[in-house]
Symmetry: C2
Subunit: 228 residues, 2 copies
DNA sequence: AAATGGAATATTGCATACCATGACGGCCGC
DNA sequence: GCGGCCGTCATGGTATGCAATATTCCATTT
């Protein structure tokens, strides 16, 4: 790459402390939400500042951003608390997801190129209904990428932004969700029907299929997943 | 209320400077976007701190939140810039709005009570197609409240939050939009059909009507509204 | 012994001072 | 005369210190 052999990737290493602290906190909060379950939801500014090796100022600015994003809630003289999503909130997120992805599918039938839609086959055809049980992990990955692909095909950056923000909150639950085999089989069928609708440029049908598919996920979570 | 007759509401008057600065900046940015058109997009931390009578610290925390929200962008040593939305971004926002409000209408057919749906008549029946021309201002208000009411009926707080965030960005454009009389007449008819679908508890139809209604607005903006 | 009030402590909110860095202008050299 | 380089200045980034307030515990009183 570089003429003198030095691996100098476009710097990128030196952002502001605020930005780096923001990212670090985000992942830290995510980790805590995953593993520590009921553990300490209370954070301490100075302890965090010490832990990250920065002053309280950039840390507080990062916290202000996270508060705006709804990940933490700061109570004066009480501490900073990690906001834990209730099951109702998770369900609302999946509902919004359904609305946005179904709209994305509609848009995709208008703006996506044939080749792009055809590429979706690579995320569905590799899994036959038979061997889903054996490769559940891989399928879960392909599942997520399939939905992300549809959103990308819509060319709507705002939908992509909002859904990625939602995904960040939901993935903790999603990983906890036991995806039974029969749901996966149904999912695969759904996906193939969605691809067919996209290829037929049938916006109404694609939208409806995606919506129903995701709303089924919501109902499943509502019935069988327990949070807290 | 209180046993000794004293009317003591929990003070509530004093928020943190950060919160108040945040609100003040938000409205200030909105005002600038409305009137100053091409005017100064560059802000100065110290000048703003002086203007608001606070130190740079709470001001910067408020700016961090606004940056997270996408209203401003801060460039080191260059200044803080008000982010101006492009027309494409506005169109994306209306598209997302269509997706969310149509989903809200669907949800409303399930969870809303009859009385709540009936209350929508108060926002539509007062305007006959005839006298729309005379009371365009009032109609514009009722129009906005009608859509807000549908979202409220869905009982989905997340949809309400996201759409109110979008509205904040779009209203500057919405106010600039010349709502011609024939669009208003069409709009009234649409609204009445939507109320009918809600009363009939026809989720599919309510969703479709709301979606098409809002997507028509998008197409109108795309064709006839110029930004910048 | 229990309850209440006060004091001490701990923790956040805010302000100020300093630092690092990029922009801009002047000066020097070609 | 023009262009490049260097120095100064302006501006956002960071650290630290002080003030305000909530919490908690202990002492005193009933």
């Amino acid at each position: 790459m570089s003429e003198n052999g030095l691996e100098l990737q476009p710097i990128e290493g030196l952002q502001s402390l605020k930005a780096r602290t923001y990212e670090a906190l985000k992942t830290a909060i995510f980790e805590m939400n995953l593993y520590d379950e009921k553990a300490q939801l209370k954070l301490d500014e100075r302890a965090l500042a010490l832990k990250f090796g920065v002053s309280r100022t950039p840390l507080r600015e990062a916290l202000a951003q996270l508060e705006q994003e709804g990940l933490v809630r700061t109570a004066p003289r009480r501490g900073i608390f990690i906001v834990r999503r209730t099951k109702a909130e998770i369900l609302e997120m999946i509902t919004v997801w359904a609305a946005l992805e179904s709209m994305a599918a509609r848009l995709a039938t208008v703006v996506a190129r044939d080749a792009e839609i055809a590429a979706l086959h690579g995320l569905t055809d590799t899994f036959s209904s038979a061997d889903v049980d054996a490769h559940m992990g891989e399928y879960s990955d392909a599942n997520i990428r399939f939905h992300a692909a549809i959103i990308a095909l819509s060319r709507c950056k705002l939908i992509a932004d909002i859904t990625s923000g939602l995904f960040m909150h939901v993935r903790a639950i999603r990983q906890r969700t036991i995806v039974e085999a029969d749901r996966a089989r149904r999912s695969i069928i759904d996906h193939k029907e969605i691809v067919e609708a996209l290829e037929a440029r049938n916006g109404e049908r694609a939208e409806r299929l995606v919506r129903e598919h995701t709303l089924r996920l919501r109902d499943h979570v509502e019935r069988y997943v327990t949070i807290d």
